[in-house]
Symmetry: C5
Subunit: 356 residues, 5 copies
């Protein structure tokens, strides 16, 4: 069963900035501090340590996992001067993917996608706050998506350690967008598989799978489109947080977003085609069943009638006493049966599901 | 039965500004007067008291419920210099959601949605007039949507008492937009429920519910889209009534509006998919019925024919007098019947509704 | 039978400005001359009288009904300096609704809609020429739509007599746009009615009515959309003929146009849904028929087979001579029949059209 | 059989400007030379005569029919300084309708439509080159569309002789656009006719005609839309070749183009509706057939069973020897048959194709 | 089996610029060096030779085929200062078709299409880098598309040798775009062929072919649309690499791109129509089968009943002993059978698949 839409949101009419934290999701903070020379990874003992990071010369990534501790989140927002509305967007997930500028900070709301099973699609919001010299990310669950970025910082290859907060923000967003590729490819393979199954086994289970895939594509599209829009707008945002170089890289991310939207749209068209194929395969099956019935009935009902004739008890039925009466009738019946068979064969009804 | 469109409107050709008040809906006015220090709630004895409010230093909310008293409404419009066309929009509901600026005032026409039952959707127009220091709201029925805002003023938490008329206007509009979330979620749950039912019980009642849900989504969309557009345009309206701060908050409302439109659009796609599933489930059922008929007929019609043969009265039918004639025939019949059953089983027709 | 498109147009390749007047539609001119003090209504004896009106201080409405007299129309165009292309648009109906500015004049091509019967939709073009101090309207038939404006001038209530030619033009266009409301409401009611009928009586006549309604909506949309566009563009037209006040009123008309387009679009979506419901209702009916056939056949064909067995003439059939042979067989048959009935009941096939 | 797309084009990778002339289409040139005083029509003996026309004071129309003579076309292009790409567009038909400006010349690629039979739609490209003082038109076949313009020049009524090359260009384009009206009207009539037939005779031939009409509308749309766009862009082209007056006339052509696109779009919606009606009419027919089968079977199968009972050869069947056994059974059978008939009548199955 | 989407991409989270080279595709470089006087073709022994080409006076085309050698590609990028992101786009195919400007270079990502068989569509990315005086192209497979350009350079006809790098870039892109024409025409012919087959042989194989064609069109569209967009944007790119003349030629390419999109869109509409035709043809076939069954059953079931009557063993059945009993019954039966046949003929059921 696929959940179509479920948002953690305050009751209607609550004042702006009200947070709805998920239960049982303790907030854990990890910190990366790095410059081209090296990277230090730590878990802050108290939030006040972070003040130093905010103002430090090295680039800091404050990685928040689990959004269950409202007090901690509010204190964090205070330290990094995160606007209450931004905090609300970060915590009350899912928001529509978007980019917003609050004085001196860029807020990017992204959404990751995973297919844990054929039945479900798991979307998770990742909130990214890019400031001068620091990046904060907010995730509800301990996600493994950003592990890939963590590894890159640890290994220190490429530009990542020297790129500053803007580049780190790009790297995170790029990783999230690229994370859709395996999902899209998995859905593509499932479609190819379904295309074969729909003709072989047009059973309700197949239809249910088609429907589920369609719903997953609809839900993917709902996230991908605004996310791509957000990347496009981020490139054009006149903020000093993003260097020209980073904008160039974001253009690449934007292209990937556009490609993903294209592919998902194609897949939606194809899944609609599968629905039609399914309906027609069912109609074909009914047709096959009908043919069997018609052939059986058309052959035996007339023969039974003939047998009925000579089962009548009229006193004077000369055929009954004719010498070759019985064998002649059997011959006529055989001829009739074969005749019908030949007729149906000429109609092309006798190939079963193979030829037709 | 869902009413598709019903508008309270003057006869065609009436002069602009003609009001059509609903019958049996006496106009009741409630007043909130507040500043950061405190809030006073009252019911004015005469409309002339309101003149003081209009010009007072505190923020005033004139909350009009029931639009049945044309004289009162006209006097109110006079006191607050509401343009006749604005008054017409406020009274002759439903108008298309929109924002308009009349000198010194912003008119916002909003629409709330409620699902009182699975069969109906209840939309109500709420008209909001934002002036310098005061806000007027016009509702046909005693709605409980705005109660949430009233409570916030009474409790005085957050920025609401200090935010002035612009902020109050935002709070009202935001509450109305957010009020769609429970409706959208209820429809989402109904869709999930329908997805199960459509395969289990593809009966006309299910189809009727699918259709009703679709119509409700169409009607929701008709309100949501222009409402979101109106919020977007309000943000860009170059009016001194809205501070930069309020515009920032409205951006949040705008995001919610966009998310709601996205979700409703996804739901409309899914409801169309359900329609297809329904049709195919009916086709599958026909298929099942056909199979039963075909199996029964294909087995017994040939056997009956055989019985008919030996019911004939030919004088000379040696089998009839053969020693093992009868038991051999019974054996042949049994073999034939079992043969047919095996054939149908190999065709996969014998699983009933479970496997197929 | 609904006519999809029929235009009175000159033969292809005729030179621009060629008029095609309808036959049997004598041109009748009525004149309203008014200022805030009073209104005079007259029928001019000769067209030359109109020269005085063109240049007079009072606002003049020249109301042309019936477009059959080419000479008269050409003389009229000469007096009021109507551009030949404008005259062509006014006479060769229907044109696409639009607004155009020819030096010193605004030409507005509008279209009214009426539903004379369930089978037809009657669209009529009304051409409006707004000049400085005068308005000309051109209608093919003696329409009653503009009677509502005439009455308002006669009664002189509201702003109409003091508003000048621009306001009169607005009043006419507004009346035409609002004239769609009753049509849209009638179609809405028909849809609600059809929704009930489509499940009760999925007969071709119902489908034909659905199709007719769909075609009417398509035709309505074809007129409404460019008409709304024309009103929008008229508001922005930088012409001295329209005061700011009139533009404000036109904005109201524009809102109504947008609402009508919205509602018609919703109705089109719903009518498509009805088509699907119809198809599925027919499929359901086939299903019902099939069930009856299958139940009857499945019960009686095996029983007939049994009867056939004991109708055989084998010499040695011990059952035939058994003491309880006949009653036992009857008992077995009854049991078999009841068994089948129970089976079908468990399958849920015995509820007839009520439960399924 | 309708050809969906066939273009005369050079092999892929040929250098730009490569011409592909049709075979068996000798190029014929006719020349019109006119000024307000008179018009001279001639067939040039050699192409060099045309140099005089290019530079003459009178307006010249060089009317090229048949594009089979590459040498002649290249010489012509040389005389009138037609850009190689423009020449390619004129000869390698069909190009997408468009307008382009090459220094000092406007190139307009138009497409005419004709319905030679119900099965086909004949589109022909007409290329128009408007220069200072001359117009060249290029047509593949001897078309009769432009005859209408020729006649107008010969007769000399209206503005055509005094309008110069710009006006002539307009007159040609306008004639081509208006030439779609008869086609659209013919398709409209066919749709009305099909609407009746689809319910009366839902046979494959009807479906084939619906499909053909749909394909024709799709092909029409493919030409109409860019053609309308081209006219719109031509109006805005800042070229001295078109006077303000001509632009005004082109606005009229533009309106007609928009109206045609509207009508074709409506027709496409209606043809899709017809497809649905066809499918449902077939379903209805199957339903009718099923009813006949079910009624016949349900009445006679139980009766046959009864007859079978009393055809059994049990030694002891008291009914067989009862005095009124036979007539009583016949009575019971009749009663049963009538009972079934009444049942089916109550179900509304006995009206045949009339009531249902 | 059609592959819907398969991209060679680095693992998610890899740093930008990571290349994923295909296996077993050795990189081969060919060089064309030419000026109006002549063209030299060579295969460089070492990449360092290319430095001379980069800075030479003659136009150089470095034609890279096979993308399997990462070291070689990186060295090439170094020599020609290709941006790492551009290199990534060139190697990790397929990217979305696009144009990008990196300082002093234009990157154009194009996609060619081929139909190697009815079952598949083969798309290949061709990356084009246009610099000052040189063009690089990157292809995965040894393609024959660009052979056409090679031949033109060798033969030296037309402008190609004198046009510089910009013109060469245009020639390559134009050849790729025009390469879609044969594909589109082949699909058009297949559609025409399918239109005939769908009515003659509505078998699953036909449906599968329709679906395959639809998927191919969807995939084509996914490449064509952004490619056309890229050409449009390339024309407007304010780069000195493209002369006005080349932009004019690109406008032609742009027109072809627009025409291809139009045609593919039409074809998609028609293929959807075919799907409907298929469904209705299957329904028609079921109808035919049903008619045969109904006719056979309706004729013989009542007759069998009559035979059953006179097969009963009632002691007193006077008809059995009547003189003409048997022949009269046979007569009645014949009459009944013929009557039924006439009835079905009047219903139009006896034409078989020809008349209906």
């Amino acid at each position: 069963m696929l959940t179509i839409f479920k948002k953690r949101r305050p009751p209607v009419g609550a004042r702006p900035g009200t947070l709805v934290v998920p239960e049982g999701a303790p907030t854990r903070i990890r910190v990366f501090e790095y410059d081209p020379e090296g990277a230090v990874e730590s878990t802050p003992v108290s939030l006040d340590e972070l003040v130093r990071l905010r103002d430090g010369a090295r680039t800091a990534w404050i990685d928040v996992q689990g959004l269950g501790d409202e007090a901690m989140l509010r204190r964090l927002a205070e330290i990094f001067s995160i606007h209450p509305l931004a905090l609300e967007d970060l915590v009350n997930a899912p928001q529509r993917p978007k980019v917003e500028e609050y004085d001196g900070q860029l807020l990017f709301i992204a959404r990751t996608a995973r297919l844990p099973s054929a039945d479900d699609i798991e979307l998770e919001q990742v909130g990214v706050v890019i400031g001068a010299g620091y990046v904060l990310t907010f995730q509800e669950r301990r996600g493994d998506v950003l592990d890939l970025v963590r590894t890159r910082i640890r290994e220190g290859k490429g530009k990542i350690r020297g790129g500053g907060a803007g580049y780190l923000g790009y790297a995170i967003i790029d990783t999230i967008v690229d994370g859709y590729y395996p999902v899209v490819e998995a859905l593509g393979e499932r479609l190819e598989h379904l295309e074969l199954r729909v003709l072989d086994a047009p059973i309700p289970a197949t239809l249910a799978e088609i429907n589920r895939t369609k719903a997953q594509l609809v839900i993917m599209r709902r996230g991908l489109w605004p996310q791509r829009e957000a990347v496009s707008r981020m490139i054009k945002q006149p903020t000093p947080l993003l260097s020209d170089d980073v904008r160039l890289y974001l253009r690449d991310t934007d292209d990937h977003g556009a490609q993903l939207v294209d592919v998902v749209d194609s897949q939606r068209e194809l899944v609609n085609g599968l629905m039609n194929t399914y309906l027609s395969a069912v109609a074909n099956r009914t047709n096959e069943v009908m043919k069997v019935l018609t052939i059986m009935s058309s052959i035996f009902i007339p023969l039974t009638f003939l047998a009925g004739i000579y089962g009548m008890n009229f006193a004077d039925m000369p055929e009954l006493h004719a010498r070759w009466g019985y064998p002649v009738l059997l011959g006529v019946m055989t001829a009739l049966g074969i005749g019908m068979l030949l007729y149906f064969r000429r109609q092309g009804w006798l190939g079963g599901s193979k030829s037709d």
